[in-house]
């Protein structure tokens, strides 16, 4: 069931189980969580949404900072009266959860950060992002998407039939401006590592063993600062570990959630 909350398109299966909320990666939308939404549907109240400017969450100007994305997440949690949320974010979704957690730690029971990191963009990353905005605005969206998908997933998964098409289809639902707006959000995010240090929240850190966008050391750094964390490396996967190896991703997430939701 979908509903709009302050312009954000939110999916909610509305059952009375513990809340399990998913935040997607760039430049995708909530459709990327299909393998998890099916798997956890019976045991959890599943919530997922399209980040502002992407998917069905349309923005007029697409001018925002990470702070806007974090405020949106807080709004959704408050609007649905959710308590003690189990939040799962991959890459950009992980950044959004980290910043939200720093602002409002009391909203969460657990967090799962997959294929993400705690440091802000380096100069190289800033210039690369600027080039993405340039390419898209001058009409080179297709070459950007083709090149980016190659970086998102491992070589083996790239050459398997199906996955590239699925990703292309999801990305095709996002507007040029929405993608560019999100690029600038990624470029202007803060470093969260120091603020996360004081938190004792149960945290699951996952990373695809062949992730080249946020390699293993990024996750190791997060696991180190989050005192109550466990980290697992997902085999046969690049950056999109939830899609590339859903069996292992779901299995690890399920064990972790059961441990911390009294099951």
């Amino acid at each position: 069931m979908h509903k709009m909350i302050n312009g954000i398109s939110v999916y909610d299966n509305k059952n009375s189980k513990p809340p399990l909320l998913f935040v997607h990666a760039f430049p995708l939308n909530s459709d990327m969580w299909q393998p998890q939404i099916k798997y956890f549907d019976k045991d959890y109240r599943i919530i997922s949404y399209d980040v502002r400017g992407l998917g069905k969450s349309i923005s007029e100007d697409n001018l925002f900072f990470m702070e806007n994305f974090a405020d949106d997440l807080i709004d959704i949690i408050r609007n649905l009266n959710l308590e003690y949320v189990n939040a799962v974010g991959l890459s950009m979704g992980g950044y959004i959860i980290q910043r939200t957690l720093v602002k409002s730690p009391g909203l969460f029971r657990t967090i799962t950060l997959a294929d993400t990191k705690g440091e802000k963009d380096t100069d190289e990353a800033l210039l690369a992002r600027s080039e993405v905005v340039n390419a898209i605005r001058r009409g080179d969206r297709n070459s950007f998407v083709t090149g980016f998908i190659k970086k998102l997933i491992s070589d083996i998964n790239y050459n398997k039939p199906g996955l590239v098409n699925t990703l292309e289809k999801i990305i095709s639902e996002n507007s040029d401006k929405g993608i560019c707006g999100a690029v600038n959000v990624l470029a202007t995010r803060t470093t969260t590592l120091r603020q996360l240090q004081s938190l004792n929240l149960p945290s699951l850190i996952l990373v695809g063993e062949e992730d080249i966008l946020t390699p293993l050391n990024c996750s190791e750094q997060l696991a180190k600062v989050l005192s109550n964390s466990e980290m697992h490396i997902i085999k046969n996967s690049g950056h999109l570990s939830n899609i590339e190896n859903p069996e292992e991703f779901n299995n690890l997430l399920e064990i972790f959630l059961k441990k911390h939701n009294g099951k």
């Binding site: 100007d61 697409n62 001018l63 925002f64 900072f65 990470m66 702070e67 806007n68 405020d71 802000k120 100069d123 800033l126 210039l127 992002r129 600027s130 080039e131 905005v133 340039n134 605005r137 401006k177 560019c180 707006g181 690029v183 600038n184 470029a187 202007t188 995010r189 803060t190 470093t191």
Partner: protein, 274 residues
């Protein structure tokens, strides 16, 4: 004088067969903030000023801007005006653009004047301040945002000077909410210039307002140290204008114009002698 549009950017070119001198404005102003300088220098130089993308008349439906885009705009403009090398002057945000442009292609410069600007990019605290400004403006709080910012742009002694306040306010009024927000975001996308060094082959004038609240003296000194160390030219001047703040060119136009003119004349005279 003519106005030309170069890739959605509105450029004012005083024309003439003289050495070109281009001005880059600060946030949240427009090219109009340089009126006193362009008027003073237009007889000796081919003076050019422009509204940075997103500001003043340079608004378009493309509001998602990065610092690098603003840097590329600078090169597009001098290319379109068929300018080979140029004297440049940028204040604050304009200075960020010039320093990055200098790093990318210093051969296009004849000199650089950096006014109340700094090397480092935004840290966490500044990023969050800019975020909350954008959120404030987007929820209708433009007036509140400007009311807080305005006094910080000028020295304490001019904060009750209605002429100066009106002059600044009239320029800011030329900017839309969207333009101001996209400028705040673009500022946050800039790189950290202190992180790496590059050779600076042209004369540099560093100007600062002694009472600038936005850039402090330490930041100016760091900039001077950095430029001096990397200068191949050894012609670097660091000058503080007294009793003025961030918008020192508006607060002390006479002094500002004289020091800028002195710097530019010295370069041109030395060239003439050679």
């Amino acid at each position: 004088m003519k106005e030309v549009r170069i890739l959605d950017v509105n450029v004012t070119d005083f024309e003439g067969d003289k050495e070109p001198l281009i001005f880059l404005h600060s946030f949240p102003m427009t090219g109009k903030m340089w009126d006193r300088q362009t008027e003073f220098l237009k007889d000796k130089f081919r003076v050019i000023s422009y509204d940075l993308r997103g500001f003043g008349k340079s608004i378009s439906n493309d509001n998602i801007i990065t610092m690098e885009k603003l840097v590329n705009d600078f090169f597009h403009i001098i290319n379109a005006l068929k300018i080979r090398t140029v004297h440049t002057c940028g204040l604050s945000m304009g200075g960020y653009i010039l320093m990055r442009a200098l790093q990318k292609d210093s051969e296009r410069f004849r000199s650089v004047t950096l006014v109340n600007t700094k090397l480092e990019n935004d840290g966490n605290e500044e990023l969050l301040k800019r975020s909350s400004s954008v959120i404030k403006i987007q929820s209708g709080g433009r007036q509140a945002f400007l009311k807080k910012l305005m006094p910080r742009l000028i020295s304490t002694e001019n904060r009750n000077n209605l002429d100066i306040l009106k002059e600044i306010n009239d320029i800011i009024l030329l900017n839309t909410d969207e333009g101001i927000c996209s400028g705040l975001i673009a500022l946050s996308t800039r790189t950290d210039l202190s992180e790496r060094t590059f050779e600076i082959p042209v004369p540099v004038l560093i100007l600062s307002g002694s009472d600038d609240e936005i850039n402090n003296k330490q930041e100016v000194d760091e900039l001077y140290e950095y430029i001096r160390k990397n200068s191949k030219n050894n012609f670097v001047i660091n000058y503080a204008l007294r009793s003025c703040g961030h918008l020192c060119n508006i607060e002390k136009p006479y002094e500002f114009n004289l020091i800028l003119q002195y710097f530019l004349n010295r370069i041109e005279n030395e060239r003439a002698i050679r």
